[in-house]
């Protein structure tokens, strides 16, 4: 009988199954009696059947549980106790347009309560989560009493996107105000705090996109009501990138709430949404909390007509709307504000009308330029001072003001550019200084041409463009570059000089490739000129070489600089300073590519030339001392390094005074040498000095501050003050991102360091997204062979190895190794580092032969470079011991274990 699960001979077998099957056809209540009857006096058979029946009706049988389940209960909600990612649902808090909000408990890596917003289906979850991840770092940097940010995003088991948000226990703004019958003044005070929170976010580059009273909760802290704006980071993640019009949310509308949306947001042009869109929403917010109704309430609210109306921009004023309301409605609004209808109308008329109108202006250039400005105007109103916003008739004057400011801006920008050029000239070489000065010394006509050119370039750009200074400046330069080609064909020399200016500014903005492109064209044209002055060509080559070096193209840079050097040496004794400058560049390049002996030779010669001048330029001498100090540091000769840096510092103090940017640079560098010597206290003090001087001389947001901040971060990191370290590194990143943009090479360097800290402090989950972002940015921005890219790849490779993703890790480190082998001299210790990590990875993959080759290679490098007792040498020995152990070559294992322990 094929249906029976046994083959052993059993006289009762067929009967057993027959009775069993029949029994299951019998009502359960009568079953036992029926079985007893059917078995007659065969008690053993009856027992076996009862057993079978018991197993069959077992309640927790796997077959009764389908392998997949619906995560939502019949009510469409998660049940309390259910897990969503690392969160456990505690309670359903409410439903919103986009989904449900739950009180939940985060279980790891920290335990805390969060608000979990689970979005309905209808969006591409992966995209939502990816968009959130892109903003994650910026969100993590926000910290303000009036805002609550999204902490995490992910997908539920069935793929619904969710956001975990800082839990705010409070009531919506309007509900709170109405139930406490807050007066207009009290409401304004709370609203002002909302503006402050929003401003903080705007400063970090985060636009909310869905500001409205229900997204501002009022909490009580020690009896004081505090508004908190929630959902930061949510709307942006929910909004499709590129602003595809027609991408709808499940609620049937665009992300954001139509009533509060700015006209540009409603039109759905992604690139057009900036902080001023939030200002508009704040205006609607303010309108509503003042009057109790929405601005467009009196008209049809069909989305098409709202869209048309808002574009026209004729929002009714608050007081006018109040007079349009039914008397009973207006009286109710007044009652909720503890006042009378007439008083309320009077209170709103004038200043508050104007403030709302200015915030809600259809043209965003007429709105408040920042949320802080709006808050300040509210403050002025509360203090009975005249407000910035004026009646519509004042728009004319306002426009004038803007125009005046624009001109002022243009002038300031020109001055800024020239200063920049001069500054670079000082920093990079005397040659640049000559060029820059010669621009100033050009005959009048030319000077005017330059000025006109710059002013016109700046005028065509929109100074209030949303994307920060970098993009605007870039636009200016791109336009300027095109204009040079068109407009200055008849002035070849002037044209070349302007191209030099443009190249320099591109370089300063971190747009190395554009800068190199211009410099290459300059060199080309100079080579073509029949009357070519070899010294001019030398100068151009020098500039190109310096830029190539900066962008990490060490090979080409070396070649170009050597040609520049040869040309300048032909120029004879008059060119000593220029020769020194090129020697200095070449030496610095050798230093950076790890060719220390060559660097020593070149830098020392540069220093000698500079010192033996009849009238030495102390700034340049200090620069040489500085780089020689850096060289000694790289050689590990710490005392000598500190000595050079101390001399540089003294020279600069004597030359420029105690408070000067270059003095800060020397303090910072001396700090690094002392830091390495273990004199952390002195080092920290020098870093702080550098920080203070730069802050004072260059302003609190200058990118230079990032260096001491990073150094302090590293210093604290080495002392295991991880939190402090991460705070400093975060400040460094923030400064760079604001000053230079996220993708500037210098910013990338700092972000890179931060990623490394996260990784090394074991915060792998935080480190991973950061490292991927950095890698993507570095691939975009840096040349393929850049050492920093290699370093990121090494870190990622290491991280992937930790994650057990060996082959991904291998791929990453292998790419790094290839870069290092082609970019660095043979036997460079960074090649060893990559080999060490790759070798260890291969051991994990049991690819022993390949692993052995790599580990032996890196061991040789480490021993040659650091000596056999260095930590890296021992680490490589240790990994070799591990390798041989896993391979079963135990003698070798013993040998290497011995070497590992010294």
């Amino acid at each position: 009988m094929t249906d029976s699960p046994s083959t052993e001979p059993d006289p009762d077998w067929d009967k057993l199954w027959s009775i069993f099957h029949d029994a299951l056809e019998i009502e359960e209540s009568e079953r036992a009696a029926w079985v007893a009857d059917a078995c007659g006096d065969n008690g053993e058979l009856e027992g076996r059947i009862e057993e079978l029946l018991a197993s069959h009706v077992a309640t927790d049988h796997v077959l009764d549980r389908p392998p997949v389940f619906d995560e939502l209960g019949p009510d469409g909600q998660f049940k309390a106790g259910q897990r969503v990612g690392v969160y456990r649902i505690l309670e359903h808090l409410g439903e919103g347009g986009m989904g449900a909000v739950y009180l939940a408990e985060q279980l790891e890596p920290v335990q805390r309560r969060v608000a979990l917003k689970v979005i309905k289906f209808g969006m591409d979850t992966r995209e939502v989560v990816a968009r959130f991840q892109r903003e994650r770092q910026a969100l993590a940097m926000m910290s303000h009493p009036n805002i609550a940010v999204a902490l995490d995003a992910g997908a539920t088991a069935e793929g619904r996107p969710y956001f975990a948000m800082e839990l705010v226990e409070g009531v919506p703004f309007t509900t709170y105000c109405d139930s406490h019958r807050l007066s207009v003044r009290q409401r304004l005070e709370l609203f002002r705090d909302v503006c402050k929170g929003v401003h903080h976010a705007h400063q970090k580059g985060i636009v909310h996109r869905d500001l409205k009273p229900s997204n501002a909760l009022i909490t009580h802290q020690e009896g004081v009501p505090i508004p908190k704006v929630i959902d930061f980071g949510v709307a942006k993640a929910m909004d499709p990138a590129g602003g595809e019009i027609g991408q709808l949310t499940s609620a049937g509308g665009r992300v954001g709430t139509p009533d509060y949306m700015s006209p540009e947001q409603r039109q759905g042009a992604e690139g057009d949404i900036d902080t001023r869109s939030d200002i508009y929403s704040l205006g609607v917010f303010l309108f509503e909390i003042l009057t109790g109704v929405l601005p467009h309430r009196s008209r049809e609210r069909a989305s098409a007509s709202t869209s048309a109306r808002a574009t026209e921009g004729d929002s009714p004023t608050t007081s006018a709307l109040l007079s349009r309301l039914e008397v009973s409605e207006a009286e109710e609004a007044a009652r909720l504000r503890s006042t009378s209808r007439d008083r309320l109308t009077r209170e709103l008329k004038g200043d508050l009308d104007w403030i709302v109108a200015k915030a809600m202006a259809a043209g965003r250039e007429f709105r408040y330029s920042s949320s802080a400005e709006l808050a300040a105007d509210i403050d002025r109103f509360l203090n009975l001072e005249p407000v910035l916003a004026g009646p519509p008739s004042a728009f004319y004057r306002f426009r004038k003001l803007v125009l005046r400011n624009r001109l002022a801006f243009a002038v300031a920008a020109v001055a800024g550019t020239l200063t920049l050029v001069l500054g670079i000239g000082l920093l990079v070489s005397s040659v640049r200084l000559h060029w820059a000065l010669s621009i100033a010394e050009e005959e009048n006509r030319r000077a005017e041409a330059v000025t006109d050119f710059l002013i016109e370039s700046f005028e065509v750009s929109d100074p209030s463009s949303s994307h920060g200074r970098t993009v605007t400046a870039r636009e200016v330069l791109d336009r300027g570059s095109a204009r040079i080609d068109e407009g200055l064909a008849s002035e070849p020399e002037l044209r070349l000089r302007l191209m030099e200016v443009i190249a320099t500014v591109y370089s300063k903005l971190g747009l190395s490739q554009s800068s190199i492109g211009h410099l290459e064209r300059i060199v080309e044209e100079r080579r073509r000129q029949s009357s070519a002055d070899p010294l001019e060509l030398g100068a151009s080559l020098h500039a190109l070489g310096a830029e190539l070096a900066r962008s990490g193209s060490f090979g080409p840079a070396d070649q170009v600089l050597r040609e520049a050097l040869a040309l300048r040496r032909q120029g004879g004794d008059g060119q000593m300073l220029d020769i020194a400058a090129t020697l200095h560049q070449l030496g610095t390049l050798s230093l950076r590519s790890g060719n220390l002996a060559e660097a020593d030779r070149l830098l020392t010669e540069a220093l000698a030339l500079r010192q033996t001048q009849a009238n030495p330029n102390h700034g340049e001498v200090a620069q040489s001392l500085n780089n020689l100090g850096a060289l000694r540091l790289a050689e590990g000769k710490l005392e000598a390094a500190a000595d050079f840096q101390r001399r540089a510092l003294e020279l600069r103090r004597a030359e420029f005074g105690l408070v000067h940017p270059t003095v800060a640079a020397s303090s910072n560098n001396l700090g690094r040498a002392l830091d390495r010597m273990g004199e952390t206290e002195a080092a920290a003090s020098l870093y702080h000095q550098a920080l203070d001087i730069w802050k004072e001389t260059l302003g609190p947001d200058h990118p230079h501050l990032a260096s001491p901040l990073s150094n302090l971060a590293n210093l604290y990191f080495s002392q295991h003050e991880v939190e402090l370290a991460l705070e400093f590194s975060q400040r460094a990143v923030a400064i760079q991102e604001v000053a230079l943009g996220e993708d500037h090479p210098t910013t990338l360097k700092v972000r890179h360091n931060r990623g490394e800290m996260l990784l090394r402090s074991g915060q792998i989950d935080l480190a991973e997204p950061v490292l991927w972002e950095i890698l993507a940015a570095e691939r975009r921005v840096l040349p393929d062979q850049h050492p920093q890219l290699a370093s990121t790849l090494v870190m990622l490779g290491y991280l992937l190895e930790l994650r057990g993703r060996y082959s991904d890790g291998e791929e990453s480190v292998r790419e790094a190794l290839e870069i290092r082998i082609s970019a660095l001299p043979k036997g460079h210790r960074q090649i060893g580092e990559a080999q060490l990590i790759l070798g260890r990875n291969l051991v994990r993959q049991e690819r022993f032969e390949e692993g052995e080759e790599l580990l032996l290679a890196c061991r040789t490098i480490f021993v040659d470079f650091h000596g056999p007792d260095h930590e890296r040498s021992r680490e490589s020995a240790k990994q070799l011991a591990v390798l041989y152990g896993a391979w079963g070559r135990f003698e070798d294992q013993e040998l290497w274990r011995g070497r590992a322990s010294g």
Binding site: W17, H56, P66, P67, F121, T125, G159, D765
Partner: protein, 200 residues
């Protein structure tokens, strides 16, 4: 089996009617079409599972039977199909559903063992809500053991548990009567219970 055959990618839809021809080919003894059929059905099931998860629907359910039936409708349409073809289809769909579920369960278990917080569980091509992936794997293994002694019973469980098919559909697939199916399910049920609870 057609090893060298180009396997359709998951996103690519089979042409309407194609599968009927394949089913007939196969029924006529062309073994090569078997792999092709399997891949077709596998791809369609994966696609359906993912797309269902992306749609918003308040009555949203994700039961394996619903997936199998939807795949049937999509691949075979409203065409008149012989009951043998229908049965073959269900049998293959259940087998593919099993493959999908068990693969997914394994991924889930691996991810759990890998430790750490999983931020993006969406990297897999199919994302299925699974409460107890370990259990799904255990059933799969138990079915393997059962198939070694009683392949017919294992087949019934596969259709029921992984394919989510009802008794009539199982009967159609295996060409057996309803009472026979019921009996086989009962015995398999006991066998599985004992196997999974460590009894002989």
């Amino acid at each position: 089996m057609g090893r060298g055959r180009q396997i359709r990618s998951l996103g690519e839809r089979p042409e309407a009617g194609e599968i009927t021809g394949l089913l007939q080919d196969w029924a006529e003894g062309n073994e090569e079409t078997h792999t092709q059929l399997m891949e077709l059905i596998y791809g369609e099931l994966c696609r359906l599972a993912s797309s269902r998860l992306r749609q918003e629907r308040s009555d949203h359910t994700l039961q394996t039977s619903a997936l199998v039936h939807e795949a049937y409708l999509r691949l075979l349409g409203q065409k008149q199909v012989s009951w043998q073809d229908r049965g073959h289809f269900f049998a293959m769909a259940a087998r593919m559903m099993r493959r999908i579920l068990v693969n997914h369960a394994r991924d889930r278990v691996c991810a759990k063992r890998g430790g750490g917080v999983e931020h993006l569980p969406l990297e897999e091509s199919v994302c299925l809500p699974m409460d107890r992936p370990e259990e799904c794997i255990a059933v799969d293994e138990a079915l393997g053991a059962l198939a070694a002694v009683h392949p017919q019973q294992a087949k019934v469980v596969e259709l029921r548990y992984f394919g989510g098919l009802n008794r009539d559909e199982i009967g159609e697939s295996l060409g057996l009567s309803r009472p026979t199916i019921a009996r086989r399910l009962r015995v398999a049920r006991i066998w599985l219970y004992r196997y999974l609870h460590g009894e002989s």
